[in-house]
Symmetry: C2
Subunit: 209 residues, 2 copies
DNA sequence: AAAATAAACGAACGATCGTGCTATTGTCAA
DNA sequence: TTGACAATAGCACGATCGTTCGTTTATTTT
């Protein structure tokens, strides 16, 4: 591993932390240089432009999410077990990711949704891949007989993404400690609504907890 | 209405547009002065500091949301009718608010969730009030016999907020035209899960003041 | 060890940031 | 119509932004 690659990795790590608290627009070259102990121009040379730096940081964030949340559950049995583990891992990531701030991708999703360009494409791709992962997870649960056939997996992914956003708002912005409870209960309701009829016969779905 | 108040209102209107596309951090005094045809210092004098300008814009955004989404449904019968109308109004607001960009409050919620201060307090207050409104709406639906007793209204609000965020991601970031369908179906599932057991899925209900 | 290449620095650039001043214009009551 | 005061403009400031360029220091290869 050459020197350049090593410093670049260190820069991206620090950039992730900075971005998680201050957002993509708060990620400034001067500040980043100061935190990494490099000169502005020395750091700049690694990326060639601000936009390329931002793209690199977004990709690093995705890689980090994959390593922390996706990869650990790939060894689990397909279907509900894997989906449940992924959910729990995701809620944990959202509440306390390996950065001082919140999930950078979630924040950037709302920051960039009206500004076409490389950055938005990068974020949109990340969100599409995430939803595809959830969709396929739900599809596997159907194939395994856990979820009922006929379940709309795209809608399932849509709902799960919603829970994740609501969690960030509740746990981070409002700082409500009981936020995680709501997340788990909302997720439980969603899973119960997707279960196969064998599991579903025990009681009315409207039944309160 | 004095001159100063009028210009201030014009500034805030333009600021809302700017913020909806570029975010709170993209809302810059120089740019805002240019768009309103004022000088930087002339505009600045209206607010005294950047932070106070930002606070004013956030309050303006709340007022705009109230006028467009909340107020119109207050005349409707309490309970499910009002809640349904609010939902539809909210989805419309999210998809095409009266600004060129997306909902500024939603964006600011994720932008500020890690930076304590006046701005975060303002946004957090707005989100708390919104959730309280939903919570009370659900409570009225219980009182009117539309929703089952025992429904957790706080959880209900949590879930609804999640749908709204997921909508923004789907409709704005990903630009999927069928996004609104998912929103409506997710919302329908949530409502059906909250209906009183005496009620069927025909939507028939009692009117209660 | 010397030569070749990569990495980092230092200084400067034009632009823009938020924010003070002082002057000048415009508005509104007497 | 005039005098008081609110509203806006003009100018300048220090700081920081992203970026370029030439130089110097490290690293790698020969």
């Amino acid at each position: 591993m050459s020197k350049g690659v090593r410093t670049r990795a260190a820069i991206l790590g620090e950039a992730l932390s900075l971005m998680s608290t201050d957002g993509l627009s708060g990620l400034t070259i001067g500040l980043l240089a100061e935190r990494t102990g490099l000169s502005k121009s020395g750091l700049f040379a690694h990326f060639g432009s601000k936009e390329q730096l931002q793209v690199a940081v977004l990709q690093e964030a995705q890689a980090c999410f994959t390593a922390h949340v996706i990869r650990p559950v790939l060894g689990l049995p397909r279907g509900l077990p894997r989906l449940e583990a992924f959910a729990e891992g995701w809620w944990t990531w959202n509440r306390s990711p390996p950065f001082p701030g919140g999930c950078p991708i979630q924040a950037a999703s709302l920051e960039l949704d009206d500004r076409p360009g490389l950055l938005r494409d990068e974020i949109a791709g990340a969100q599409r891949r995430l939803r595809a992962f959830i969709r396929q997870g739900a599809a596997m649960a159907i194939a395994a007989g856990h979820f009922r056939p006929g379940l709309d997996c795209t809608l399932f992914a849509f709902q799960m993404v919603g829970i994740a956003f609501a969690q960030t708002m509740t746990c981070r912005l409002l700082g409500e400690p009981e936020g995680l409870d709501f997340v788990r209960r909302a997720w439980r309701l969603q899973v119960e609504g997707a279960l196969g009829s064998a599991h579903n016969q025990t009681g009315e779905m409207n039944h309160v907890e």
